[in-house]
Amino acid sequence: MLTFYAKGKDARIAAIRDHFVPVVLDGYLRGDSSELAFLKSFQVQGNGFTYVTAGGRLLGHDSYRSLESENTVSRLQKVVSEFNALPESTRKPLIEKSAPSGDSKRIPLTPPPGALIANVFFTYLEQGPQKEWRRALWHVEGQPGTEAGSGHGRNQYVTHVDKLWITKSEWPSLIPKDPRPGMRVALPASLEHRLLRFYSGDLARRTTQDKLRSADLRLTVDKVEHNSVSLKLVGSTKTGCTFEEGRPPSKDARGHDKCGADLRWLGHLRYNRKSKSFDRFEIVATGEAWGGGSHQAATTNYYRGGEHRRWPIGIAFELVTGERPVDRLPPQNANPYRTNGYFASESP
C-alpha cells in the first residue's frame, strides 16, 4: 500500500475528487480482456498516476512520489485545463457498455455474497520514556521516499490496511441458538485458521511461514438482550519461529530470517437480532513480532544495524459496510498471486 498524508484541508484531494474520475487498480489484477486492451493502448505509469480520457487519449502521468511535491495542485490543474480544451467528442466519447467477458483471471476478487467484511489495521508500537505506549516511527524515519530519486519510498506509511472476509456460511454459526451469558462458542475451523494464518503476526511482513506454535482463542457469549447478543473474544496466539535472545532466527528457503509473533487478543462482537447481522465486530490484538528479511521495507531499520530484537505491534479489526468500492477490495492473502487457501480450514 502506498499512502499519501494529507495536510489539513488538502487541495490535492479536492482536486482529484472534483475534477477526475479516480480509479485505483491492482498492478497484478488490472481487469478483464477489454480493460487490459484499453490499458495497452497508452503508456500506464507503473507506480503512480496516469491521466487519460475515457476514450484512451493520454494526457500525462506522474510517479506517486511526485504528488508529494508543492506543485501537485498546479500539476493537476494543468492536466485538467488541457483536458477541458479538448473537443467535447473527446471529453465525452461514446463508451459502449461491455458485457462480462468471463475472463476472470485478472479481475480482483469480490466479497462472497453475504460476507461480513472488516477492515484490518496494523501498526508498529513502542514504549516512550515514561513506559507509555505510543505509535512507533522507527520504520519511517530515515527512510527514502520524499525526495525524488531517493528510493522506493514504501516506508512512508504508518498504518497498514487489509481486509478480513467471513463468509455467510461462517458468521451465522457464531450465534448460538439459545445463547446464555458465559456460553462458549466454537469458532468455525476455517475462520480460526484464517485468523491464525493471515492475521496473527506482523502484517507488513506478510508471512510466518504458516507455522503455528500455539493458539487459544475463546469466544463466549457476554450479554443477551432482547434485540442483541454480545460476544467476547479473548485469547493468545504464537505464530512463526520462537524468539531467542542474542541468537538470530534461522533462515527460510529464500535466505531470509524466519519471523514470528506472540499476540494477545480481545474482541467485542454484537449480533443484532432485528437486522440479523453483526453491527459490532471490533477486535484488537497486541504483542511482539521479530525476524524477516533485510529487504523488507517494514523491517529495514531494525536490520540496518544487524539488530535482532522484538518489536511491539498492534492489529485492530473493525466492521465496514462494504458500500464503497475500496471496502470491497480483497484481503491481500485472498489474492491468487499471494497465497492459496484463504477460505480453507487448513494450509495447503
Binding site: M1, V23, R30, G31, K92, F121, L125, E132, V158, T286
Partner: protein, 84 residues
C-alpha cells in the same frame, strides 16, 4: 521521511497493562488500543475522501458521461489502496 507531512497525533497513551506481549488486554485498555492502532486523523484522507473506483470499465463509462478525465492509480506490487 519528512515528518512535517505527518499530521498524525502521536500522543502517548497510557495503558493499564504494560507488558504488551505477556499481559491480557484489559477492557479498560481496549478503546485506547483501538485509537492507537487505527489510522490517525488525516492519515487516511487519500483513502477515505476520494471516491476511488476499483474497476476500469465503469470508471470509463462514468468519465465519459460526466465529461471528466480518468486518473488511474496503479502499483507494480499489488493494490495501492491497501490489501494488495
Amino acid at each position: 521521511m519528512n515528518r512535517s507531512l505527518l499530521p498524525i497525533v502521536l500522543a502517548p497513551l497510557l495503558l493499564h497493562g504494560q507488558a504488551i506481549a505477556q499481559d491480557n488486554i484489559s477492557p479498560e485498555d481496549f478503546p485506547t488500543l483501538q485509537q492507537l492502532i487505527k489510522p490517525q486523523e488525516g492519515e487516511f484522507a487519500w483513502y477515505d475522501e476520494i471516491p476511488w473506483m476499483t474497476r476500469l470499465q465503469p470508471a470509463r463509462e462514468r468519465a465519459a458521461t460526466e465529461g471528466k478525465l480518468l486518473l488511474i492509480w496503479t502499483s507494480a506490487d499489488g493494490q495501492p489502496c491497501g490489501a494488495g
